[in-house]
């Protein structure tokens, strides 16, 4: 087990392994996302209340889910890097941040587009949208802190502390925002009611989430390879490989 971790933690091995994995992730995600999109956007039954407008759910909900998943993944990677001092884990955390921020932005944009037909405005201070917005701020702060250090090792460790502080705060922020909106708004925002969704509407949703997970696998493989190249640019194995 430890041998395996150390083997994977070594940049040349990880670089080669990620290069082999990336196409598998990439093509399977293309297939899954295409199937899920067709199923969700064309085959799935119309919503009796929202008509076809609800179909943006198949983009909005999976991206929102991914945005939170990636933040946790980033914090776990940062924690591993802090505790066991594995540089590759820090590099993985660094690679996670821009992907997570993009998913957060997508979730915000699709939520706002969905809000236009549902609420009549582009933006409502709804609990989930607001906590997504704060999550975006957390991602941006993380990236800003990382980019403000010249020394990559200090950037790694300082941003790891921030990611860990952030991940403790994410549930607090989420529940405080939820409490705040329930106090201010009457319970009219039940259009997102979860249990009422039909089962045949759910299958493409799960499929889309798996597809996006695979896409994340592809993107992280590519980005992590880039990070490894950047960090190891003076290493001997790289010059031999090139």
């Amino acid at each position: 087990m430890w041998l395996w971790i150390h083997k994977f933690g070594s940049p040349p091995h990880a670089y080669r392994l990620l290069g082999k994995l990336a196409p598998w992730f990439g093509w399977s995600s293309v297939v899954l996302i295409a199937v899920a999109a067709y199923w969700g956007l064309v085959l799935a039954p119309r919503d009796y209340q929202q008509g076809d407008a609800f179909r943006i759910l198949y983009v909005h909900a999976p991206t929102a889910w991914m945005s939170m998943f990636i933040y946790v993944a980033m914090a776990v990677a940062a924690g591993i890097g802090m505790i066991w001092r594995i540089k590759l884990a820090h590099a993985a955390a660094a690679a996670c941040a821009p992907i997570g921020a993009s998913f957060t932005f997508l979730a915000l944009a699709t939520g706002s587009i969905w809000g236009k037909p549902m609420w009549g405005t582009w933006w409502v201070w709804d609990a989930r949208l607001t906590s997504e917005l704060i999550l975006l701020f957390l991602y941006l702060g993380y990236m800003a802190l990382r980019s403000s250090f010249d020394d990559p090792q200090r950037a790694d460790r300082a941003s790891a502390v921030l990611a860990l502080v952030g991940v403790i705060n994410v549930p607090i922020i989420h529940y405080s925002v939820e409490w705040w909106t329930t106090l201010h708004q009457p319970a009219s925002v039940t259009k997102f009611d979860k249990p009422s969704i039909a089962l045949e509407m759910l299958y493409p949703l799960f499929l889309m989430i798996i597809g996006l997970q695979l896409y994340f696998g592809w993107a992280i493989s590519r980005r992590l390879r880039g990070e490894i190249l950047r960090r190891e640019r003076n290493a001997k194995w790289l010059q031999e490989a090139a």
Binding site: S148, V177, W179
Partner: protein, 228 residues
């Protein structure tokens, strides 16, 4: 050499910071003045009508307090890191978290506490009713103390960074949003005639959580900043 007990060492740090601040009290007064100035902006920007200002008074006082206590955070660790005091603390064998907590506590006494004391006056000027004074003071006591610890983490992370002050606000403000929600709502609830116990207890919970985990994060961040 025998090591001093931790509480003695932390107490010494606390007293030293208070004394340093006392000798340059004009710097200590600046966040307080900023606080009063910012709260003056809101009536100018919206309306001089007290009955309308009353609706937002809790939120205005809270936002202004948040910004004012951020203002003073940037310099929290800077001079100690620059002149090497912090390195001595890291090497002293004392638990670094306690020393940093003492520093944060003195910072809170110098910036947070004056804000809390002035806030009823500022609130009254915005039409805050007398009944809400107690809640405002209590919520700000808990909120500014939590913010000092949170801001301490941010200050420790950004101490070695150029243009750290903007970055510091960018890091700390999202983390402080739950405080703002609970704090300003507790004031709003009193004005609506409800009991503010719920949000105040939540504020206290966040305070104790931050107080227990904050020093760990702060000392980790300081060790990173002081290294090399």
């Amino acid at each position: 050499m025998k090591r001093a007990p931790t509480f003695t060492a932390a107490g010494l740090v606390f007293r030293r910071d208070l004394m340093l601040a006392w000798r340059r009290w004009d710097e200590v007064a600046q966040p307080l003045i900023f606080y009063v100035v910012v709260t003056t902006l809101f009536p100018l920007a919206t309306t001089p009508d007290l009955s309308q200002l009353r609706e937002i008074s809790g939120g205005v006082v809270w936002v202004a307090a948040l910004l004012a206590s951020l203002l003073a955070l940037e310099s929290l660790f800077r001079s100690d890191v620059e002149d090497g005091t912090m390195e001595q603390w890291v090497l002293s064998g004392q638990p670094l978290g306690w020393l940093l907590l003492a520093k944060v506590a003195s910072h809170w006494v110098l910036t947070g506490l004056p804000l809390v004391i002035v806030s009823p006056v500022v609130g009254t000027a915005l039409g805050l009713p007398f009944d809400a004074w107690g809640t405002l003071v209590l919520s700000l006591l808990l909120g500014t103390a939590t913010l000092s610890v949170l801001g301490g983490i941010g200050a420790a992370l950004t101490v070695g960074v150029r243009r750290g002050s903007v970055l510091l606000s960018l890091l700390v403000l999202p983390l402080a949003m739950p405080l703002l929600i609970f704090g300003s709502r507790s004031v709003g609830m009193v004005m609506d005639g409800d009991s503010p116990a719920g949000p105040l207890q939540l504020l206290a919970a966040i305070f104790f959580l931050t107080l227990s985990l904050g020093p760990v994060a702060m000392s980790a961040a300081i060790r990173i900043s002081v290294e090399n």
